[in-house]
Amino acid sequence: MASQDIIARSATTTPPPSIRQLEEVAKLIDTTKCIGCKACQVACSEWNELRDEVGHNHGTYDNPQDLSAESWTLMRFTEHENEAGNLEWLIRKDGCMHCAEPGCLKACPSPGAIIKHANGIVDFNQDHCIGCGYCITGCPFNIPRISQKDHKAYKCTLCSDRVAVGLEPACVKTCPTGAIVFGSKEDMKTHAAERIVDLKSRGFDQAGLYDPDGVGGTHVMYVLHHADQPSLYAGLPNQPVISPLVGLWKGVTKPLALLAMGAAVLAGFFHYVRVGPNRVEEDEHPSAPDTSVHQVDPAVHVYDPGKPGTPGEERP
């Protein structure tokens, strides 16, 4: 991706190089055309040379059960009975959404470990990844995973290596029904609009595009039969936003906290300069021992008077 501009970089406070104008790309996943064949899962593993563990069946069609450092995308199956009592088998390809405002990038403490390209692809640079997992914490879609082998974070790259040389992502290439398509974000929106017209003609009145504003839009979008209830699709967030907790954690509070720390040090310095140190006059006469024991904190009673005399204690 060296040839593409990086328009945002994790843990970096100055603007990255961004003079080139790249068209935003997007992958459109049409859940209404998806047959859940998992070819995209396999193609992803093939292209990226990933081999997850051979797992178990846990009573569903979902396998692997969850995303992992070795499984960057997977199908999530949901059996849904609609208002009319008809069954729908909602199948959603899960993976990185490539947010315009990526929570992972916001949370990442390591400069350059997460980058956003001008075409919208959000990519992890494992070479700079320190394995803290803050990206997971920051992601509104719960996508990145830390490998237990190398403690680096991994997720869908939107095949940035393929896209950089003018190819479509591997999952798009392999999708047999054309449920996954790829192109400029504008074209994908147009395509989605056509699909939505077709779906409405088939009785899906709430069909729509999932391109959530809460994260500034995404570069992986869904066509949903029930765009009014994204959460039907195996918990796709209805209105994804970077968690307010993360906002607090990684927002303006951090520079303010830094300022506060610096200010505290400075305050001390100027206190010293202006007020000066608090010294003890060594020739000061001791006052008579106070016998008003009642004023003393009860804790004092357990003071061990034997201690100062412990053998081995040296006097200065």
């Binding site: 843990a11 406070t13 949370a107 403490p109 390591s110 400069p111 700079h128 320190i130 394995g131 803290c132 997992g133 803050y134 997971i136 914490t137 719960n142 830390i146 403690h151 968690s243 907790l245 607090l248 954690w249 951090k254 520079p255 906290a257 830094l258 720390m261 505290a264 040090v265 001390g268 206190h271 010293y272 007020v275 000066g276 140190p277 608090n278 010294r279 003890v280 006059e281 060594e282 020739d283 000061e284 001791p286 006052s287 021992p289 106070d290 016998t291 004023q295 003393v296 904190d297 804790a299 357990v302 003071y303 034997g306 100062p308 005399g309 412990t310 053998p311 204690e313 006097r315 200065p316």
Partner: protein
């Protein structure tokens, strides 16, 4: 007898304190490296980003464990009293080095006591939240919301801790004789009288006679 310095901290107490202090600096600096990009360069002190990520939680846990030692040693001197509240009301005088009229102070003044409890709370929060966000071993046991809360709590507690320690360090620099007390253990009687009058009276009243020396209950 009268000019004899007073032992304020035993060797074990001092050792314990400085272990905590060193660990605080290590955990703190590594934590600050992850706290804000402007300080990421601090990670080089620990061998780079991944090492910082690996070491930080272990240093933190160690700091907590040794801090517990301090707590066990000192918790009983840190209950706030009526005098303390009065002392706090005169904090502005304290800051101006005008201690006249302030109530006499025991082993610790109210500021020190507040610091003690603040540190304890921060340490507890850091430990719990740190475990929750410790990816290598524990995070998979927690939900994403808990982890997010953990990350926030960890940052807040860390911030409060750092601020508190800045105050603590400055207080040591400002109140001459304090650093020495923690370095070699001894304070002068005048120092004790001035800053910790009640403690001084306590110590001098209960000071053992020579014949009592070495007789331990």
């Amino acid at each position: 007898m009268k000019d004899k310095p007073i032992l304020r901290y035993t060797a074990n107490e001092r050792t314990n304190h400085w272990i905590v202090a060193i660990l605080f600096f290590m955990a703190g600096l590594s934590g600050l490296a992850l706290f804000h990009p402007a300080l990421f360069w601090l990670s080089h002190l620990f061998g780079g980003g991944p090492w910082t990520r690996i070491l930080h939680p272990f240093m933190g846990v160690a700091m907590f464990v040794f801090f517990l030692g301090l707590v066990i040693r000192f918790w009983r001197y840190n209950f706030l009293t009526a005098n303390d509240r009065q002392w706090l009301r005169g904090i502005d005088k304290v800051l101006r080095n005008e201690e006249e009229g302030l109530p006499p102070v025991g082993k610790y003044n109210a500021g020190q006591k507040l610091l003690f409890w603040t540190l304890l709370v921060c340490m507890l929060v850091l430990l719990v939240s740190g475990v929750v966000i410790w990816r290598a071993y524990f995070s998979h046991w927690f939900g994403i919301e808990s982890i997010r809360l953990g990350a926030l709590a960890h940052a807040v507690a860390g911030f409060v801790l750092v601020m508190s320690i800045i105050v603590h360090i400055y207080a040591g620099i400002w109140i001459k004789g304090s650093v020495g007390a923690m370095l070699h253990g001894w304070v002068s009687r005048a120092w004790a009288r001035k800053h910790h009058a009640l403690w001084y009276r306590q110590v001098t009243r209960e000071e053992p006679t020579d014949s009592q020396k070495g007789i331990k209950p």
